[in-house]
Symmetry: C2
Subunit: 652 residues, 2 copies
């Protein structure tokens, strides 16, 4: 646990949980107003939290922003907050129930005042929720900042954020806890599963589900890898024998995705996020429109026409995405032309320089693709912002969709072209290997080690400043320095890129691994290092992210399922094209194609039936859920009967 | 409203709503026990309903069963029952809310004591629910019937039903209401929509949704019919021009099914069944197993292993169904052989008798198919019963699935064979027309007129008996006679067969109407008469069914969607086979097939995307639902705050 704020910066001491950083040019009256609103009791519309300004660090200079505030809360406030956000905790009978203060003593692990009942991540989540729902009363603007308009019911924090007055809100790390977690997670040499419960305890359910998925995915690939190795070693590589492999591929894809759903449901149940109700979603900070009354809440807030948004999506964004896909296709065709040309030059008169020339097209293509990905990502973010989605979730979904489609296209278009237009399996194999290995090395480097190195340099600078005056080790840094250190760390931007990477790897394996059986082996190796590098970057590179309650991996489940449908089509086509199968239909190509198509349709139908038959929720959790529902219905009935009988007595 | 029970058969008069018929050899002690349990107040575990024995009718003879009982209830009891079953009614602000006695006066149309607040169908549904949930206390068997074992918590009515002591439970018709309904529904000559709200008022949501779907489906077919007529009239029948028609077919199928979801959601919302929570489902009467404790309710009830049931389904039922399908295929092949033989005989030496011979195979095939359907239906019911499903709903789903697959196969296998194996479009066209027209005529006859005629004969007999003594018109029949008349009416077995018929009609249109554009016209005509005959049979032929709350058409939506997917595949193949399209690929059949398959995949993908994009719940209902949820969350929060502040005051 982080030590309480020392007496020199506050009269009352409390455990700081969350840091608010305001712009250094924020007016004093705005700060005073914000602090009083945060401290006000709930009856008066405040958040009833504790908040103190952070003193200037020992290494303090004029350049440092003085407007850092530490937010905490009393235990009672946090417990009532837990009830407000609808936290599910383990009940004494082992089931998961919505926490209520009224029967708090019936929850497992609730001891004494309950000051160790909530994890720090949960406390921080509660504080974030309370800050987010702190609403303007009759203020028309933030005092001292007339440009930051307010109206009754507007979330203050979101307005401050959208006007740049509030720079960031982030939760603090727990040094001790983090050390323990990182030891059991990636520093220990012993082979073991990841400590998912501890990860969830520290980072929340969203993160834990990502790491759970990463681990599950790795284990699910092991059978593929085990089958792939002999295929590779014993020279079964004449592309003749891959029919068995492709069929296995198909079944495997469907089954692992269905089983993952069950596994993730079990996890979400044990973490209490499965049956948790989502609160009403506020408009995202960037959302703008004409002021009006929300038809659901009756609150005043910006409204924007739904039709207009849909027109933007279908008339601008969709054509733009299609144009980009076309462009990407065009670039690909140029690449193949260039390669063909280089090959012909090399074949005509092979010298050292023509040998080098052979690599040029690939290098140019790789660089161009990276640039296109980058530019497209910016364009997608800009467009999605411009579409003006009301909810953060729909903004995220639209963005994921745009980026996903483009990345899928960029990664796989050339492979599809080689496989089906050129029908050159040797080249397909070579391209696949190159893509997998380079992207793996590049990713690990860009994702973890580069940010770590940058971070380390920054840290060292600050440490040197501090150590100039006092000779302390890093572990014993004073709180103020620790907070400033964390404020400087990079912000973790969510699991988007991590899932995207897994998605593309899943694509390589499920689409083409029958041609290059080592793909699964490479992906397993990649995933193992990925676990370590991701764990490392979560612990050492980034600010702690706010925990996000999640019951499943959301839109990614859909994306993986779509990929597995595409995999059925691709694998069937590859089977149909294999010389082995072609030998069965020596006289008629039409017959071959018709059979392939028929089998493909059968497999697709089987896939859909399978996903219907395998229940998404395991039986034992289904029983627990129904029992809870049944009990609440019975309790309601009993209460009604009691009221009725009391009424009757009253009349008598 | 039915007149109150006359004084000669009861001391207290009440409106009879539901009739219980016990076997004539039921022991007197069993009857006395049952009546007292029904009358007991709820605190003592009774149902707190009113119940009286029906006197012997004026035409009474020894042959008549004396054990008919009329059940009714006080208004207060019905209102509290409405709360128990979770009825949704219109609130004063126009939204639909769960009815509670506490704020009954805030509901629209609640006047005075509320004795006209609930419709008779709702009252009957409530009484059925109360009877169904009347549970044994510490009885070990039904008094006088030691074979009818009971244990604490067992539903009494279900045990009596499963042991044959209770012959039937049915709700009474309302003569006046029925007359009004039948006039506005099918007797009026004026062209208008069906009175769906009145149908729902009288028969409940399940019935009303069926008729709503029938009407919707008919209107949705009109564009197809309008396009089909010129195709037929202007001799576009050379199967060359059907590409446009097939493409239209595809888009149309997807769109109408998606729009139906929205329409049915609107209906279900306005009828209050959309957000209604399902109560915990009891085991069905036929379910048997070893006594044990239900893990959800903790009640003692028969338990049967889930694994055993699944083994029964996959190891016995599934192979059986596949075997039946194979048999049906075999019969079909024999039919085609016979027809080929008949044709060859006729061609060799055409006489009158060989002309007759041409029809023989078709007639034999039709008869065999009917017999197979009948036998299969019995077998499917037996098997599904033997699978021993715990819930009525899963029993129904399994039965629907079995019957659906077989019927689909029987109806369409020969058409598919003609279309794709024989590639004889003229024959396909002729078969389609024959099938459509004969099945239409046969159905109308078997479904409505035959039962009506039988019913009429029975009625006349009884009337004659009554009129022997008194000279009354049918409308003024005494209650006892009326009840006995209704008890003799056939029982309506649910919407299963009606939906099945629509499903097959939908198949004819969506799969093959591009070959025979008049199909849509025929189906529209059929549907119009179907509305009348179905309405007629509901009003005049059958006992009134208990109203069933339904929010959608359930498993049938899925079935229709599956059909529309099959329609995409079929239509694409038909397009690919058309001479028009073949002309585009004069040199290569492979190219043609590949293009067809590619376009088919594109259409399927488009279909799935479309079903994702079109939201299932219309925006305005989505808003109303979220508002309700938001308000209940806010109310909960407010209540918690109040409790907390009271607690604080109490401490001070």
């Amino acid at each position: 646990m982080v030590p309480a704020v020392s007496a020199d910066c506050s009269s009352t001491s409390f455990t700081p949980l969350v840091v608010l950083e305001l712009a250094s040019d924020t007016k004093q009256e705005a700060i005073a107003w914000l602090l009083s609103r945060i401290r006000d009791p709930q009856q008066n519309g405040g958040a009833e939290l504790l908040v103190e300004q952070l003193g200037l660090g020992d290494g303090g200079s004029e350049k440092e922003n003085p407007n850092l505030f530490l937010v905490g809360a009393k235990w009672q406030r946090l417990l009532s907050g837990a009830e407000e956000v609808g936290l599910f905790k383990e009940f004494s009978d082992g089931s998961m129930r919505g926490f209520t203060c009224a029967n708090k003593h019936n929850f497992k692990h609730f001891e004494g005042d309950g000051d160790s009942f909530l994890s720090m991540a949960e406390c921080q989540y509660i504080i974030k929720h309370e800050l987010d729902t702190l609403r303007a009363k009759d203020e028309t603007h933030v005092p001292g900042h007339p440009q930051a308009k307010l109206y009754p019911g507007k979330s203050i924090i979101r307005r401050l954020q959208s006007k740049g007055i509030l720079i960031q809100v982030f939760p603090l790390h727990e040094k001790e806890e983090l050390k323990r977690l990182s030891y059991s997670w990636y520093q220990k040499v012993k082979l073991s599963f990841q400590p998912l419960d501890d990860i969830r305890h520290y980072y929340g359910e969203g993160q834990a589900l990502y790491f759970g998925f990463l681990e599950y995915f790795t284990f699910a690939l092991v059978p593929m890898a085990l089958i792939g190795v002999p295929y590779y070693l014993f020279d079964w590589e004449n592309y003749d024998k891959y029919v068995v492999f492709a069929v296995f591929n198909l079944v495997w894809c469907t089954v692992i995705l269905e089983l993952w759903k069950r596994f993730s449901t079990s996890l979400a149940y044990s973490w209490g996020t499965l049956s948790r109700k989502k609160a009403f979603e506020e408009p995202r900070p960037g959302f703008h429109g004409v002021l009006g009354f929300n038809p659901v809440t009756g609150r005043e807030e910006p409204l924007d026409s739904n039709t207009k948004r849909q027109l933007r999506v279908y008339l601008v964004s969709l054509p733009f995405v299609l144009l980009c896909l076309y462009l990407s296709l065009y670039v690909m065709m140029i690449y193949f032309l260039m390669e063909g040309w280089a090959l012909s030059v090399h074949d005509e008169e092979p010298t050292f320089w023509t040998g080098v020339l052979l690599f040029i097209p690939s290098i140019i293509y790789a660089v161009v693709i990276e640039i296109m990905n980058l530019v497209y990502r910016y364009a997608a973010e800009f467009l999605t912002e411009w579409e003006n989605h009301r909810l953060e979730s729909s903004y995220q979904n639209q963005l994921v969709l745009k980026v996903l489609v483009f990345n899928f296209f960029n990664c796989f278009a050339s492979l599809f072209y080689i496989a089906f237009a050129m029908q050159d399996m040797a080249l397909l194999r070579q391209s696949l290997a190159t893509l997998l290995i380079t992207s793996q090395i590049l990713n690990q480097f860009m994702e973890a080690f580069l940010p770590y190195w940058l971070q380390r340099r920054r840290n060292k600078k600050r440490m040197r400043k501090v150590q100039k005056r006092k000779a302390v080790a890093e572990a014993e840094l004073p709180l103020a320095e620790q907070v400033r250190l964390e404020a400087d760390m990079s912000t973790y931007l969510g699991t988007f890129d991590d899932y995207l990477e897994l998605f593309l790897l899943f694509g390589y394996v499920s689409l083409f691994s029958c041609v290059y059986p080592l793909a699964a082996v490479l992906v397993v190796l990649n995933n193992i290092t990925e676990v370590y590098s991701d764990a490392f970057k979560m612990c050492c590179v980034f600010k702690r992210p706010f925990s996000e309650p999640a019951a499943n991996i959301g839109v990614w489940q859909l994306a993986f399922e779509a990929m597995s449908v595409i995999a059925v089509v691709t694998n069937c086509s590859l089977i149909g094209m294999s010389p082995q199968v072609k030998a069965y239909f020596p006289e008629s190509e039409t017959q071959l194609i018709l059979w392939t198509v028929a089998i493909e349709h059968g497999l697709l139908a089987f896939k859909f039936i399978l996903s219907f038959i395998i229940p998404d929720v395991p039986k034992h959790i289904q029983i627990k859920l129904s029992r809870l529902e049944f009990e609440s219905l019975e309790a309601l009935k009993k209460k009604k009967m009691l009221e009725a009988s009391e009424l009757t007595k009253g009349i008598q």
